[in-house]
C-alpha cells in the first residue's frame, strides 16, 4: 500500500508483517487453547462439586423414604404408641399434637405478621427500617433461643402457665414464623401495583376497604406462599418444642397439657438403640418429610401461578 513512501522492498515488508501476523495468530491460538483447557477443567470440577453436593442430599431423602415406607401402615398413622418392647403402635398422638401446635402457631403468627407487614408497606423511614431489620435478624436467631424464651414466659416457675404445654410450643413456633410471615407478606403486598391503590383511593373508597379488597386480594397468592413456607419451617422444628411441649405418648387434645409432636418422636425414638424404635423414627421422619415437601411444593406452585398471572 504505502510502498512508495518507504524505501524498503515491499516484498520484505509483507514478509515481516506476515511473520508477525503468524506469530500473533500462533500465540492467540495457544492462549485460547490454554484458556479453553482451563475452562474445561473448571467445568469438570464444577460438575464434580454438583455430584458431591447432590449425593448426600439425595441419599438422605431416598434413604428416609425407603426406610419410612416400610414402617408405614394405616395402624401406624392411627394408633397411639405402645410401651417399649410391645410391638405395634403408631404415631397418632404425635400427628394430632403437631397439627394442634402448628395450627395454634398459625392462628397467632399470621394475623400479627400480616398487620405488621401492612405497617411496613404503609410507613417509610427509620422506624419501618428498624422493624424490617429486626425481622431479618430474628429470622437468623437459633430456634432454641425462641424455645427458651417461650419457656421463660409460659412454662417456667412463676410464668403464665407454669408447666409444659402445647400452647407454649405454639408460642415459640409463632415467634419463629413471625419474621418469615412479615417479610413474605410485605413483599407480596408491595408487588400490588401502586396505581391500583390510588385508583381505589381516588374513587373515594375508605383506606381500610382499599387495603382489604384491592391490596390483600391482589397479594393473596403471595401471602399464601409466604405463610405456607413459614408453616413448613415450623412443622419440622424440634428444639423449641423440646423445652416447651415436652412430648407425650398419650393422645392429648388440650393445648394446655404436654403433647406429642412428630419431631419429638423422631428424636426420642431415633436415639434409642432398639431397631423397633428406630423403625418408628424412620416412619415418623418420612411422614414429616412428606408433609414439609408437600407444603413447599404447594407454596412453589402458588407462587409460580402468581408469576404467570403477573406476566
Amino acid at each position: 500500500m504505502s510502498s512508495s513512501v518507504f524505501p524498503i522492498d515491499p516484498n520484505t515488508l509483507t514478509d515481516a508483517i506476515g511473520t508477525r501476523r503468524a506469530l500473533v495468530r500462533e500465540s492467540a491460538r495457544r492462549s485460547l487453547a490454554r484458556r479453553r483447557l482451563l475452562g474445561r477443567v473448571a467445568i469438570v470440577l464444577c460438575v464434580v462439586a454438583v455430584a458431591i453436593s447432590l449425593t448426600p442430599l439425595v441419599a438422605l431423602v431416598a434413604y428416609t423414604t425407603s426406610r419410612g415406607i416400610r414402617a408405614l401402615s394405616w395402624g401406624f398413622l392411627t394408633h397411639v404408641p405402645t410401651p417399649p418392647g410391645i410391638p405395634g403402635g403408631g404415631i397418632s398422638s404425635a400427628i394430632v399434637g403437631s397439627v394442634i401446635i402448628v395450627g395454634l402457631a398459625v392462628v397467632m403468627a399470621v394475623p400479627v405478621g400480616t398487620m405488621c407487614a401492612l405497617f411496613l408497606v404503609e410507613r417509610r423511614g427509620r422506624l419501618a427500617g428498624s422493624v424490617r431489620f429486626a425481622a431479618d435478624v430474628l429470622t437468623g436467631v437459633p430456634s432454641i433461643a425462641l424455645g427458651i424464651f417461650a419457656y421463660a414466659v409460659l412454662v417456667g416457675p412463676g410464668s403464665l402457665i407454669g408447666h409444659f404445654s402445647g400452647l407454649a410450643g405454639s408460642f415459640a413456633l409463632a415467634v419463629l414464623m413471625l419474621p418469615i410471615v412479615i417479610r413474605a407478606s410485605e413483599a407480596a403486598m408491595r408487588s400490588v401495583p401502586r396505581d391500583l391503590w390510588e385508583a381505589g383511593l381516588a374513587l373515594g373508597v375508605r383506606r381500610s376497604r382499599v387495603v382489604r379488597s384491592v391490596v390483600l386480594r391482589g397479594a393473596l397468592p403471595g401471602l399464601v406462599t409466604g405463610n405456607l413456607l413459614a408453616v413448613a419451617r415450623a412443622v419440622g422444628e424440634t428444639a423449641p418444642l423440646f423445652v416447651t411441649v415436652l412430648g407425650s405418648t398419650l393422645l392429648v387434645t388440650n393445648p394446655l397439657q404436654p403433647m406429642g409432636a412428630l419431631s419429638l418422636t423422631i428424636f426420642s425414638d431415633g436415639t434409642e438403640a432398639y431397631p423397633a424404635a428406630q423403625q418408628i423414627a424412620w416412619g415418623t421422619a418420612f411422614v414429616l418429610l412428606t408433609l414439609v415437601l408437600l407444603l413447599s411444593v404447594v407454596a412453589r406452585v402458588v407462587s409460580a401461578r402468581l408469576n404467570r398471572q403477573a406476566r
Binding site: 485460547l32 484458556r35 479453553r36 482451563l38 475452562g39 473448571a42 467445568i43 470440577l45 464444577c46 462439586a49 454438583v50 458431591i52 453436593s53 448426600p56 442430599l57 438422605l60 431423602v61 434413604y63 428416609t64 398487620m115 405488621c116 405497617f119 410507613r123 417509610r124 422493624v131 429486626a134 431479618d136 435478624v137 430474628l138 429470622t139 437468623g140 436467631v141 437459633p142 430456634s143 432454641i144 427458651i148 421463660a152 414466659v153 417456667g156 416457675p157 415467634v175 413471625l178 401502586r194 390510588e198 375508605r206 383506606r207 419440622g236 423440646f242 423445652v243 419431631s263 423422631i266 428424636f267 431415633g270 436415639t271 428406630q278 421422619a285 418429610l289 414439609v292 413447599s296 412453589r300
Partner: protein, 332 residues
C-alpha cells in the same frame, strides 16, 4: 395538540401524577382510616414487644449466672451442684470447630454447584436441579440428624475416620479412636444441612448479575469459564458472602441434629475424631435436668452467648445483603 396550547400551560411545581398520588396517600382523617391505622400499629407494636421481650427475658433469666461469675462465665461457666461446672469455653470451642468444618466443606462445593447450575449447565439440567436443591433446603434438621446418627455415623466409624488417620500431614487432626459420633461427623452433618441454603442463595446472587457484564466479558474474548470467573462471580461477591454468613448463622445455632451426632463429651476436644459438645447441644442436653436457680440460669446464659454469636454473624450477613440489594437498586 397545537404548540400554542402547550405554551399556555404554566410549568407545574409537582408533576400532576405525583401531586394526586400524594394527596390520596395523605387522606388519613376519613372514617375507616383510624381503625386501620390502629390495626397496623398494633401489629408492629406486638412484633417489637416480642423482640424486646425475647431479649429482656433471656437476659433476666440468665442474670443470676452472669452475676455469679461475671465475665469468666464466658470461659469456665458457673458452678453446678451435680456436674461441677458448665464449661462454656469448651462449648464455644466446639461450636466454632464444628461450624468451621461445616463451612470448609460446604462453601467451596456449594458455590461451585451454584456456579454450575446458574451459569454453566444447560437450562434443561440447571432448572430442575435448582428446584430439587431448593426443595431439599426445606428438609427439617431433625431428619438430617436422624440420618447422620443412624446412617452416616457407622460409615464414618468404619471407613471415613480410619481413612483420615492414614493420610499424612492431616493425621494430626485425626488421632484417637474412631467411634463415629465426633466433631468431624457433627461438622459434616451441619455441612449437609447448610449446603442447600448456600447453593440457593449463591445461585440467586449469581443469576442477578447483569447480562451486559457477561456479554462484555464475552466480547473481550473470554471463554465461558472466564466469563464466570472474571465477570459473574466478582459481581455476585457480596451476595455469596451474605449466603455464607447466613449459613454460618444456621450452623452455629443448630441444636438437635448436633446433639444427636457429636457424642456429647464435656472435655476440651483434642482431635476432630473426639466426641465434643457445642453450645446448642449442651443447652438441649442439660436443660431438662437442670434444677431451678443457678443451674438453669447458667444454661440460659449459654443461650445468651449463642444468641450473641449468631446475632453478630447474622447482622453481618444482613448488612452485606442490604449493601448488595442497594447496589442492584432493589431496596426502596
Amino acid at each position: 395538540m397545537s404548540p400554542t396550547l402547550l405554551e399556555e400551560v404554566p410549568p407545574p411545581r409537582l408533576t400532576p401524577v405525583e401531586g394526586v398520588s400524594e394527596a390520596l396517600q395523605r387522606r388519613w382523617g376519613r372514617p375507616g382510616g383510624r381503625a386501620y391505622a390502629v390495626l397496623r400499629w398494633t401489629g408492629a407494636a406486638v412484633f417489637v414487644a416480642i423482640v424486646l421481650g425475647l431479649l429482656v427475658s433471656l437476659l433476666v433469666s440468665s442474670s443470676q449466672a452472669f452475676g455469679h461469675s461475671g465475665l469468666s462465665f464466658l470461659w469456665s461457666g458457673t458452678y453446678n451442684a451435680t456436674k461441677d461446672v458448665y464449661p462454656t469455653g469448651v462449648y464455644i470451642v466446639g461450636t466454632l470447630v464444628t461450624t468451621t468444618v461445616a463451612i470448609v466443606l460446604a462453601v467451596p462445593i456449594g458455590v461451585a454447584t451454584a456456579a454450575f447450575l446458574s451459569e454453566l449447565a444447560p437450562r434443561w439440567l440447571g432448572a430442575p436441579l435448582s428446584v430439587l436443591i431448593d426443595l431439599i433446603a426445606a428438609v427439617p434438621s431433625i431428619v438430617v440428624g436422624l440420618w447422620g446418627l443412624l446412617v452416616l455415623s457407622p460409615v464414618f466409624a468404619r471407613h471415613v475416620e480410619p481413612f483420615f488417620k492414614k493420610v499424612p500431614l492431616v493425621e494430626w487432626f485425626f488421632h484417637g479412636p474412631a467411634y463415629g459420633p465426633s466433631m468431624l461427623l457433627a461438622g459434616t452433618v451441619l455441612a449437609v444441612m447448610i449446603l442447600p441454603t448456600i447453593v440457593a442463595l449463591s445461585r440467586t446472587a449469581l443469576s442477578s448479575v447483569a447480562t451486559e457484564d457477561r456479554e462484555a466479558a464475552r466480547a473481550l474474548g473470554a471463554t465461558r469459564w472466564q466469563v464466570v470467573r472474571t465477570a459473574v462471580v466478582p459481581g455476585a461477591r457480596t451476595g455469596i458472602e451474605a449466603a455464607v454468613f447466613l449459613a454460618m448463622g444456621r450452623a452455629l445455632g443448630e441444636t438437635i441434629a448436633v446433639a444427636m451426632v457429636i457424642g456429647n463429651n464435656y472435655a476440651l476436644p483434642h482431635s476432630l475424631l473426639a466426641p465434643g459438645a457445642t453450645l446448642g447441644s449442651a443447652i438441649i442436653n442439660n436443660f431438662g435436668e437442670a434444677s431451678p436457680g443457678l443451674d438453669r440460669s447458667s444454661i440460659i446464659g449459654l443461650v445468651v452467648v449463642l444468641l450473641a454469636m449468631t446475632a453478630l454473624v447474622n447482622v453481618g450477613g444482613q448488612l452485606l445483603l442490604r449493601r448488595r440489594l442497594r447496589a442492584v437498586g432493589a431496596v426502596a
